[in-house]
Amino acid sequence: MQSYLLAKDRLDGFVSRLADRLTVYVPAKGADGLWSFVASGSAQPPLALTPEGGNTNMPPKSFVFPRTEVLMRFDNRAGEGGMILREEPVPAGRAVLLGVRPCDAKALAVLDGIFGRRASGDASGEVSGGAFGADPYWAARREATILCGLACNYPCPTCFCDQMGCGPHHREGLDALWTDLGESYLVTILTERGRELASDLAPAAQADLNRAESLKAEAASLLTGKFPMDKIAQRGVLELCELPLWAELAATCLNCGACTHVCPTCHCFDIQDEVKGERGRRLRNWDTCMSGLFTRHASGHNPRGDKLARVRQRFMHKFKYIPVKRGEAGCVGCGRCIKACPVNIDVREVVRAMNEQAPQTPEGAA
């Protein structure tokens, strides 16, 4: 593992040189006051990779798993026997995202486990993760996206990454991790393809590495809101499902999709064909378990027919079902849903209750 140093006043030059070879996205503040990843050319210099409030408003998930993705097109205008099915080409060229927070990178690593990922640089390479092999759309975009992380020195009050197998300086899923040392960034290369991002940087000194280590420890110490989760694993699915907390949540949950849309690990989707006359396209759109439509059958029956079942699903999925299958939580502790929820449902309180709440007393019992 090699580390380099990039002075902050050389950041703009570094990015513009990088942009000669790759499409570079950096966090920038928009006119609406929100931080998001934008192409480096459209960001106002000098670049500042650190969003106010700690992170971009939306996670970089959509670079790999777009809100709406065309899977293929079809056309029957040539008449009988002329039906054409055409694959949708994956966008050519590679992109690099600078300033990705460790939690968001970890989230993509979690999703790699679900969508599946091919070994780097080989379209027919070995698949890791993915229940049905690699999802080609995910895998292709994932392959074309280099993630350059920026460690969190000042976690937010809503952050709980450390509880979720992640942390402010966590490296999983990243190709390189940058650490803000004040006047400069410490650039730590984590993968082969991350290496090309440091080709013209000077190596870092031990003092810099030490400084980064102490920042890491300091950041970790700022995360204080610990809550135990150990009992969830021991409780049965049915027991968890029957906890009173779900009814309490359902009383105020709006069943909107805000939490799922801002979530870096939510990945439910819906595939639809859009047809105009004799032609059309097949699409994959984000969907949300909060929506009744998500699970409604063609018959009209809905296995998750009420709000309670839907709000429960999101938490059970992240904190019970995924851990059972994959051995880690389906949440990375970024805290976005806490901020986004219109009725202020706090995932930390929900998890605490899943862990601790006593089962519902059967009716009639004392």
Partner: protein, 320 residues
């Protein structure tokens, strides 16, 4: 503000004790700064859970229909001006019955826009915000700042025309001046100022970040359709994508569906995780309905919504 909290708790406690209602919908403190969360209490001793702040930016009227179905008997609700107007609207639409409601009315000082406060102190984590009638005290780590209420008000609260509840069974503070001080006509329908050729671009830019989470719809007390038009599948005429054509269809028709019913409560904007100024569409309709038909939603019980009636001499200059 403290008076309001104390009186809300007292009113809720009394109402539950005296059986004036079976449950009270109000707000409890949020888990983090600048948030409040809706809560239902059904025991007098829980009245202490209730609070009131300038961050009660949802709209409890929307949650009531569901609650009213579940709770037999009267249901109490803490309501400021706009929410009370929505209650009136929902009564008119047969969703609620006046006699099934116990309205704890709150003369409103206007709700705060947390993003305005955050923008004032960029890069610093806000741990708590305390407030008086005039001033917000913003606390961070090892610091404390002051901000005038009028600088932190939500846009809709600045131009509010009905801060006192229009219906109530108990009032928790002296009535306040009804208007928020701003002139709605100066700020409503902002794209009218653009030349026609630039409006679509402005519309596109404003909604560019919409991911169609539908929080604006789901927080809206008017959006109670069992199946929203965007969720219709037979036929599915409005697409499900994030393409602007679909985003635009969703927002345009939703705004139209709220026309003449919207009280400009601002919950849609407050709920949007992408900070989209949804009122740029709804304020246009509110303005037109007011200017053309002289109607403002929910101001009095028994009024017909303006799109369910007509006058023979309604303006029709555009019709050939």
């Amino acid at each position: 503000m403290q008076t309001r909290i104390v009186n809300i708790r007292a009113a809720a406690k009394a109402a539950l004790e005296e059986g004036l209602c079976r449950v009270v919908a109000g707000y409890a403190p949020g888990a983090i700064a600048m948030r409040a969360r809706p809560v239902f209490i059904d025991k007098p001793e829980d009245a202490g859970k209730l609070t009131w702040s300038s961050f009660c930016v949802g709209n409890l009227a929307g949650l009531l229909t569901q609650a009213a179905k579940q709770a037999s008997g009267r249901i109490g609700v803490v309501a400021q001006g706009c929410v009370s107007r929505n209650l009136v609207g929902l009564i008119g639409e047969g969703r609620l019955a006046r006699e099934d409601l116990y309205v704890i009315g709150v003369p409103c000082l206007g709700m705060a826009e947390r993003r305005k406060i955050e923008a004032r102190y960029p890069g610093r984590a806000i741990i708590a915000v305390e407030e008086s009638e005039e001033v917000f005290v913003v606390r961070g780590k090892r610091r404390e700042e002051r901000m005038l209420r009028r600088d932190a008000l939500r846009d809709n609260c600045y131009t509010c025309v009905q801060r006192n509840p229009v219906i109530y069974d108990a009032l928790v503070a002296e009535p306040v001046p009804d208007t928020g001080g701003g002139d709605i006509d100066k700020v409503a329908a902002p794209w009218e100022k653009h030349p026609p050729g630039e409006r679509l671009a402005a519309f596109q830019a404003a909604y560019a970040n919409c991911t169609r989470c539908h929080a604006c719809r789901d927080v809206c007390p008017l959006c109670y359709c069992s199946t929203c038009f965007v969720d219709e599948s037979t036929p599915q005429w409005a697409g499900k994508t994030g393409d602007f054509a679909d985003v635009a269809t969703y927002h345009l028709l939703r705004a139209l569906h709220c026309a003449g019913r919207c009280t400009d409560c601002g919950a849609c904007e407050s709920a949007c995780p992408q900070n989209i100024k949804v009122r740029r569409l709804t304020s246009k309709l509110e303005k037109d309905v007011r200017a053309l038909y002289g109607c403002q939603a929910g101001m009095a019980l028994g009024e017909s919504p303006p799109l369910t009636v007509f006058r023979p001499d309604d303006p029709q200059d555009f019709i050939k």
